[in-house]
Subunit: 443 residues, 2 copies
Amino acid sequence: MSKHILVIGAGLSSTYLIEYLKKNAAEHDWQITIADSNYQLALSKAGDGERMHATTIQTENAEELNSIIAAHDIVISLLPPALHVTVAKVCLQQKKHLITASYVSEEMQKLHTDALKNNLLFLNECGLDPGIDHLSAMKMIDNIHRNGGVVNTFKSYCGGLVAPEYDNNPWHYKFTWNPRNVVLAGQATARYLEEGELKFIGPSRIFTQTENIEIKGSGSYESYANRDSLGYIGPYGIKHAGTVLRGTLRKKGFCNQWNMLAKIGLTDDTFIIPDSEKITYRQLLSALIPGTGMPQLEKRVCAFLGITPDSSDYHSIAWLGLFTEERAGISNATPAKILQYLLERKWALEPNDLDMIVMYHYLAYTLRGEKHQVSSSLVVKGESQSLTAMAKTVGLPLGIASKLVLENRVKSRGVQIPLQPEYYLPTLDELETFGIRFEEHHS
Amino acid sequence: MSKHILVIGAGLSSTYLIEYLKKNAAEHDWQITIADSNYQLALSKAGDGERMHATTIQTENAEELNSIIAAHDIVISLLPPALHVTVAKVCLQQKKHLITASYVSEEMQKLHTDALKNNLLFLNECGLDPGIDHLSAMKMIDNIHRNGGVVNTFKSYCGGLVAPEYDNNPWHYKFTWNPRNVVLAGQATARYLEEGELKFIGPSRIFTQTENIEIKGSGSYESYANRDSLGYIGPYGIKHAGTVLRGTLRKKGFCNQWNMLAKIGLTDDTFIIPDSEKITYRQLLSALIPGTGMPQLEKRVCAFLGITPDSSDYHSIAWLGLFTEERAGISNATPAKILQYLLERKWALEPNDLDMIVMYHYLAYTLRGEKHQVSSSLVVKGESQSLTAMAKTVGLPLGIASKLVLENRVKSRGVQIPLQPEYYLPTLDELETFGIRFEEHHS
């Protein structure tokens, strides 16, 4: 009997997932429906295969959502995170499994008991980060534990970057994911564990307390600490680890330059600039730099940041156009919103640019009284502007998870994240067939 | 015929106000009711004068609030700012005037038309800051305008401090007002005007971009910028001023030391410390300072702040007890909450300590082509622990405003703040009889 898969949300990140489902449809006798509020988009993503269907969907229309979900066996939600719970509640009513690539929200967690009672699986965090990070980390951790070892250090890093061949700006960065999240990164205090001590890094220091990461065959990166690393200790079962840190990867030099923007106040999202639609980048910069005098702005910036006009730091700021008389022209804007608008133009992927995903884990452990280290790295480059590395590494784990669930190879039920061997072993194996392969180094 | 005055809220700041009303009661034939949720407190504040009455009041009990307000001619609300609107709505129903010492909230402003229609005055910002600052600034500004001058620079500063005779700690500061507001000061971006340019100072720089203020006969102070100085340009009628700044006064040296606490992350109110009830001050400090190693904490603090163990900065931090193994013992606490708990003990006014209010205005103006400057300063010391300078400078303007309204000497109606001569002339005159006198210096 045919199995019916519903994909809700046909945006950029759906491309690879839909390709995967389409390729597997005949072998597994799947019927696949692509649903989006934009019917034309759903239709174009579904394409013309006989097992592919498109429909319009309005998540605020409960009746419509109910009747569409009722006609399927499993739902993959690519909606914005806040909407997953709406879908999950309908999945409960209609007794359907649900898969998402998003963090488990408090609201989602509350559905755990009801999902269990109904023998349903609501599998979340099944993309790249969160997703592939869980799969690969848990495989390493379980290996160490199985041999009787104890994990002393767990560090994990991930970054969405531009592929080095297309890295042609002084920031060595282009947007491959939500620009707003990038601009507002580092505005919450980072919490982690270091050598047995709790560590907090406040927003003013996140981009200064960075770590250098060398990845064999890929190059030099640096990382800044993510908001909450402490929450992983329990789920990963590494309560004896003295160091637990998760970070975000950038090319070397980025964090120092970004820290300049933060120090200036350009990432400030807490107040609205008066008459912001009229302000030029130069005026905004001058308002944020101590002192007055527009003609002296370049000198004031150098004095404030302690840099010289011939430095690469100065060049990076100038390259963004912050000294120009142009306007973002956005009303009721914060400095961060104006910066985002500017960066979206400066850091846009050009038509032929390809993106790149880099993930890196480092574990130190004790086995039979001896200290060991193991690192694991993953580098994935995009294939084209629609088949990006980001879409691939988010979409494939979702597709593979759907297959595992439909084939009944996953026993867990309730609200889950993919930490068990039943997920990570087959998923990591199949990801390798797509070139998503971790390189391990032992020492 | 007797006039009936209702004072809602009998906390610390009510003492002087109630004294004032009591002293004036016979001459003006007033009956005065002190209302508080704590009846004993209301009773003790009302005292035993025959014109003094006490009652219990629950602001959440609409019927009770209505019937009490109905029996009075004017209401003075000393409630927490968020509750003024509840009282104001009942004043509308019962057609009574209202006076507060708080900033006009958006909710309060919405009542303007209704108050006007009912010929009622809802007079806000009638304490010290806001309050006396408006009165004294507007008198100076109106004087300049009346002579045909143009205000080019307007700067205004205020601080609640400990009187110098009782200043015996290395911070030269004790709490004379809400400790939470002091701990969280400077966490919003400051906005002001400097030499015709808009200026923004982000939280990480508020305590470093300070200004020295010398007040003749009082000493050396420094100031940090308040959140929003731009909002005063319109109400004060100084649209030709290129520099408009309001700031908070501290004794010299405070801001640099406070900046150390902020830089460390101790003023961070954005995240809850795990198991915060168990953390010692030393552990918290270590978690916030880069690096690890509790025994090296003193060295790490010095390295991080760029100070030496024999410096006064180091002494100030150590004096607070931040290196000790003591616990605040507060669950679900942020670093700021733990710091506040510590400071409430360290910076408490001792039983015989007196407080001090310092206010300072500086105006530069052009008159018939010539540049002039005028400054005006006010220093008020407390009389006793209950008759504090803060209670005096907040309470007296409220009391005087009530008298002016009851004597029908104030014509304005609607939601107002005291910017007009009908307020500031008689109020400043009467304040002088209480020793609240500004010293002007012209040059």
